[in-house]
Assembly symmetry: C2
Homo-oligomer: 406 residues x 2
Amino acid sequence: MTWLELPHDAAYGLATLPYGVFSADDAPSQVGVRVGDQVLDLSEVAQALDHEHADVFAQPSLNALMELGAQRCREVRAWVRELFDDDTYRDLVGAHLRPVAGVRLHLPVEVADYVDFYASESHASNVGKIFRPDSPGLPPNWKHLPIGYHGRAGTVVVSGSDIVRPNGQRRPDADGVPPFGPSTTLDIECEVGFVVSGPTATGTSVRVSDARDHLFGVVLLNDWSARDIQAWEYVPLGPFLGKSFATSISAWVVPFEALAYAEVPLPGQDPPVLPYLQGQTDRDVFGLDLHLEVRLNGSLVSAPEFRDMYWSPAQMLTHLTVNGATLRTGDLFASGTVSGSSPETFGSLLERTWNGTAPLALADGTTRGFLEDGDVVTLTGWAPGRDGAQVTLGKVTGTVLPARRL
Amino acid sequence: MTWLELPHDAAYGLATLPYGVFSADDAPSQVGVRVGDQVLDLSEVAQALDHEHADVFAQPSLNALMELGAQRCREVRAWVRELFDDDTYRDLVGAHLRPVAGVRLHLPVEVADYVDFYASESHASNVGKIFRPDSPGLPPNWKHLPIGYHGRAGTVVVSGSDIVRPNGQRRPDADGVPPFGPSTTLDIECEVGFVVSGPTATGTSVRVSDARDHLFGVVLLNDWSARDIQAWEYVPLGPFLGKSFATSISAWVVPFEALAYAEVPLPGQDPPVLPYLQGQTDRDVFGLDLHLEVRLNGSLVSAPEFRDMYWSPAQMLTHLTVNGATLRTGDLFASGTVSGSSPETFGSLLERTWNGTAPLALADGTTRGFLEDGDVVTLTGWAPGRDGAQVTLGKVTGTVLPARRL
């Protein structure tokens, strides 16, 4: 029903229509929507059509669009879809489509607060075994609440940004002096990020059944992690410099609506969660059938399945606000590493190589325990859409650069 | 040498001249400087005098001012001082002074990232003994690095904001179901916050000897803490909902320059810290002689001395960036609870009442282990200035409101 000439199996088909921020030539950054290998300049089209919200597209982030709220964002998405379905828009839209290869993509969201969860049972259990071999794999709170912590919003970067290997302290032998220098165990975490619209009022909470009203969209997220720095610093206040140097997200934000056909039941929560983490209907607490792939220098090294996650994104958002903490538009929360039960689905090298003890063989004949300088890591993903269509989750990629000398 | 008629011992004398953001009547928020019981409208004065940076004062936060950088901020402070010293400005300035009681004070900084440290040895040791009675008081990393974690920037609020008691999960008995409801152990943490100017480039670090160039100013900070929520959730990723509901800061930001006469040596660091945490000269690693007071419903319950802190603010800033994490203008980092060695200087009720086991007697005849609804907590402070003058660190106050029903 579309005038657009796009192969049925093309990436970024009409089932996806993700938003991003781009600039071309010397023009200011503004909001576009991706279709196939092209980006549509929504600001130009909206102005030409005198769209009531044209101003939200002439912005260097998606925040103004998100600020419209869930209902209006649904209307905007329907309007975008209509641009490609209604033949009367064909010339106008065609005039404002540009090859994505010819534009520069920017961080799509002005990130307010960034929270990272720990919602994969397999990941939490694996990390527990590796970092705390003398303790039970899962801490006692794990099945009662989605554990999370705040990360550094200011170092969330867009896909394609280079990642400078961090310097830091490592655990010393016995009572010695901590070694200091470039991290020797640089890792990735394959995660899904949720971009949130707000605001909410101080002291209020978002109910599980209302979570969709605040879930604007989804990005792939690589939570780069320096395991040696993290292992030495994280007791008792949690990860800090082992994570805060960089977090990469995909340039294209897939509207949460696009994932309606990917909603699935959770694997199961036992013991039952507290009432505030329960929904009012079966649909309120959902998993997502997102298929993820991790490539290291082009070699597929893991294929995590998001449907294996223990906690629902809706429960994470509710937990985040149950203490009355406000949300702001642009808040970003991530799932934590997505790991299934088999090594081929582990979403970090820490787990995939069992802390470097079982190195991975790459296609170029080399092996990896952790990342080397020059390595390129790329996360991609897709989800089922309507009538067999695929929703493209985009990609997030980054190249490791050598540490700087202090 | 000033035309201003102000008692020598007045609070907010010319040794302080802190910046804040205020609004009056229906006018937009803009930058002012406080002197005595009055606030000077810097935007009006700067416009009248055609000041080259007049635009930075016509803003709803101090961020644009901070963005000018350390050298220009020093010049701006010198200019402000001159307004009060040079009799030719007397009429103009007098016309734009307003009673502070007649204006509304706003959050002075658009907070970018918020990091909370843990820099008091006495506090870390006390908390260790209370939360982890079977472990050594200080974790093994504590004297090697200033432990810190990211907090929630979006819930940093200005002094005077009410604090709604948070709901949350608490640790269950044995393997039972976690109790859920309003925190029963709501606490405060008396801290000093440092407002930072940036930006810095990705992958670079701020050296200890350059820290002053990024330390714009100081606020008092109350890191409200729900101890029961915190104790259950914080392993292994650190404090989250036990802290993220609210962090209060004073409305007036004291320029770092004003504390030049309060710089003192640290109590001493043993073992020696790693080279990246050392300065180039004795002056680079400094403590601050800030005298703090904690009042609960008007009763003085603690008098922490910031000079007891183990780690220097410069070291905290350097550590925060040693992994290449960027700074943004508006970043805020706090010292962690300021506690000395005697109970009268403990900066939290957790320590002051030893987890509620030694309740405090208040002037009204009641006692407190932790905070009750309706309680008012106020932090104040001062520092030595030039020639015996006092620098007023302002105050941060908040009233506890009952938890909301979910």
